[in-house]
Symmetry: C2
Subunit: 509 residues, 2 copies
């Protein structure tokens, strides 16, 4: 059996090497590639991805997986061996379902749609983007139909969050909505109680960079096995557990932009750095889902990085870096500033309270377009109406409405949902960590993060893709995915910051 | 026929994409990769290179090449089509000659030898390196024997300089030796006539960097299709003609280190940037040989960059960047400083006059080891004796003698020769350019380089690998490779700098 497992690992290891090489090409494209490099790079990426795919879905891989199953390798569910076969059987079957031509067609359509989206957003002219978006929704519908799903949205969700069903996600969003809308309404009249003007002063870029790196290093991101570079939009990627690349951007007039994004990306990065080396090149060597990945970034960014405890420790360091700019602040006023709630039009600028309403709107509209309830042509209007309903604000034009995100142009339909899952999971995991490590809040206020990181490594990171999100949350917290801990966290935190009375959820409709 | 050519191009284009991706992985390794990344990177590189090789030597490629030949595609020798088939037939045959196992064994041996070489050099202990070097010479002898050569050194040379025979190289080196040894001897007593102390003052790193970039940009390196980064050792690589990466290192106490290396690497880079786009992904899309490549870097570094004319234009810019450090210099004294001749132990620090003697020594010793005249164990002694003979200096230990270069550890036997070819060719090409563009010296002194670059593009760059070095030098200069123009250039330049009487070549022995 070992011989067959070694054969399997050698075969899929080669595909994985090609994928990792492609990720480096993409990282380079976002960080250092000169403008002229784009055309050849696109060809190189297409070749690498095509070869990786061809090798992964080869009949030989399927045969080895089947033989290993027959030989009972899956018996010890938690073992590396069983997990490698279980995960790759699922993934191999899934990837074989979609004709290669359809995959290429989606990639081609995405590159055209992306260009159209850029022009449309610049001129705030949805009509330029509409035919591309119609085409993309049709293609992704066709893609989803390859899996003959009960609910057309299931395979789209499953692509980013394996195992999660649409019905379950709907239930979660309903709970969230019932809790969030009243909270937003309770905060609205007190908006001016928090002043965040101090964040918008002039902050030297290099000092901002250094402060972010200092936080990431303190958290435990290993710069011997990773680095940070600049890019237009922050992201994290990696080419092995030992080579993890964060990126950020620095804005001279917004202290929190690079600082909080570095904490966020370091959270993603530490997840990858913590995966068991035994899983290298097996396709289990990455975070198990986008939702769980986002739970790690949000945990460090929000549960740690926006907590009063953390700033009791870190504010003196920020003040040392920016003595003039922060001279009129104390830790409490600064903590309030970085947690100001402001219903706004743009998702990526949203605070913890309003963020998930942006996601819910997308989650709903994606399904309504797929099931025909909303036409693509009517999306701008539907978007604006729902913004008004959930957040009480209305876009002046489509650039700050339906055209704000690139995801749909790229065919990432079903992806947004994982941002919300990440928020919910971050609190479920953090609550559990606080139970397991009673001194955790005190540790954080003392700038000690090793116990938290070790806990995350043991409970989550090292497993890579061995367990699905559903399995993992059950193993770690003893219960299923739930919105209630997140709502409870928000209420506790923001009732205190804004001096609110108790806010209850509306009964779910 | 077009159908078959397209098939061939698609097949080899995929291999080429894999090779280009591997080059990016190697570039990243030398510039930005964190230390932890090394192990996984080695595996990824091995996979990319193995797949590229397998696909390139596939029988299908051979079949298509043979059919295209049969159909007479090679009739129009200079055409892209004929050249693609001619070059790839030769390359395909050559790569199929060597068993894949031997290629892997050499790669493995090289990585062990490199590690041993590093330790040996640090401690100046040749004994640590000896067994690895013996093994490497034996492996490369075996590799060369796959080609059943008349002279065992021929295939080794051919690997880096296609078409050049050992006998021809020997003749060239004999001419060089006859000319260089008397010149070195004539300069020796006048060593103190040139003072280069001004180069060793404190120079701000960023300003050095900027000055080098300014020179590269003026020469015509296109930063929209390339960039420059830092690395431990300067090099140039590229992933298409439109994405060319230079690297350099900056030394605070040596103005010429980064400045001249940037000019040198920009010369390599402009060659790649000038290759015809029609040759993309055909394996003809790179410089035709290491010797011709080095001719381009040396032309810009030495023929332009160390000329008095260039500094008439550029010295005021250098002085503007470093007014204090260069206050006591004028263009003539500065020009003399950057051209000081100093017989020294280390190749990479050698001046134009002594450089090729370092190469000749290696060219001779490589052959003597291969034909058994010198044992690897006796290399240090042979090295030191020959240094004394050619340059009049003797290494104090093996670290500054036989252990100074990494090349042999990597299996690059035959490679050194191309450095000298580059020097000779740079003068042959530049002399021709001066005949074709009579105003060239005046243009250079006015900071105008466009005519020279266009001339190089037309005569050399655009052809990529269509013509061998031998063909190219004949086409461009009307004659064969020759040492005499280089010797004549050196005599003219250094007689003037050092105020020498006429120096003649010794009769060749």
């Amino acid at each position: 059996m070992n011989g067959k497992l070694e054969q399997l690992k050698a075969l899929i290891g080669e595909s994985r090497d090609l994928e990792m090489a492609a990720l480096l090409l993409e990282w380079d494209q976002q960080t250092y590639m000169p403008p002229g490099g784009a055309a050849a790079r696109a060809e190189q990426l297409a070749t690498l991805k095509r070869l990786a795919h061809e090798r992964y879905v080869a009949p030989e891989v399927g045969r080895l997986l089947a033989e290993l199953k027959q030989n009972g390798i899956e018996a010890d569910y938690d073992s590396d061996e069983a997990s490698i076969v279980r995960f790759n059987t699922r993934e191999h079957d899934r990837k074989r379902r979609v004709p290669a031509d359809l995959v290429s067609e989606i990639a081609r359509a995405a590159s055209l749609a992306e260009a159209a989206w850029e022009r449309a957003r610049e001129t705030s002219d949805f009509a330029l983007f509409r035919p591309h978006l119609e085409n993309m929704f049709a293609l992704k519908r066709g893609w989803a139909e390859c899996f003959q799903p009960a609910d057309i949205y299931d395979p789209l969700l499953d692509e980013y969050e394996p195992g999660l069903k649409t019905a379950e996600a709907r239930k979660i969003f309903a709970e969230l909505k019932a809790g969030l809308v009243p909270l937003v309404k309770a905060i609205a009249p007190k908006a001016e109680a928090v002043d965040d003007a101090c964040l918008h002063r002039e902050y030297d870029e290099q000092k901002q960079w250094d402060l972010g790196v200092e936080a990431a290093r303190l958290f435990g991101f290993d710069f011997g096995r990773g680095r940070q570079d600049r890019s237009a939009h922050p992201f994290t990627t990696n080419f092995s557990r030992d080579d993890v690349r964060l990126t950020t951007r620095v804005m001279r007039n917004l202290l929190t932009s690079s600082l909080m994004s570095t904490m966020h990306e370091a959270g993603h990065g530490m997840y990858e750095q913590g995966i068991s080396p035994a899983l290298a090149r097996t396709y289990l060597d990455e975070g198990t889902s986008l939702g769980v990945h986002e739970s790690q970034s949000r945990l460090w960014e929000n549960l740690v990085g926006r907590s009063l405890g953390f700033w009791r420790f870190f504010f003196p360091r920020a003040q040392a870096a920016f003595p003039e700019q922060l001279a009129d602040q104390n830790v409490e006023s600064f903590h309030r500033a970085i947690n100001k709630v402001r219903p706004s039009l743009i998702r990526v600028e949203a605070d913890e309270v309003t963020y998930n309403l942006h996601i819910m709107l997308r989650f709903e509209l994606e399904q309504e377009v797929l099931n025909g309830a909303v036409k693509v042509a009517d999306l701008p209007e539907a978007w604006n109406a729902r913004m008004k309903e959930y957040l009480g604000v209305a876009p002046a034009d489509d650039a700050e409405g339906v055209l704000q995100d690139i995801h749909w142009a790229d065919g990432y339909i079903g992806y947004f949902t994982t941002y919300t899952l990440g928020n919910l999971l971050s609190v479920q995991f953090f609550d559990r960590a606080c139970k397991d490590i009673p001194s955790l809040p005190a540790q954080i206020a003392a700038g000690e993060f090793a116990d938290l990181l070790n806990w995350l490594r043991q409970k989550i990171h090292r497993h890579g893709r061995k367990f699905t999100m559903g399995e993992l949350v059950q193993r770690v917290t003893g219960g299923p995915l739930s919105a209630e801990p997140y709502l409870e966290y928000l209420r506790r935190k923001y009732q205190s910051i804004y001096g609110l009375d108790n806010v209850r959820s509306k009964p779910t409709s």
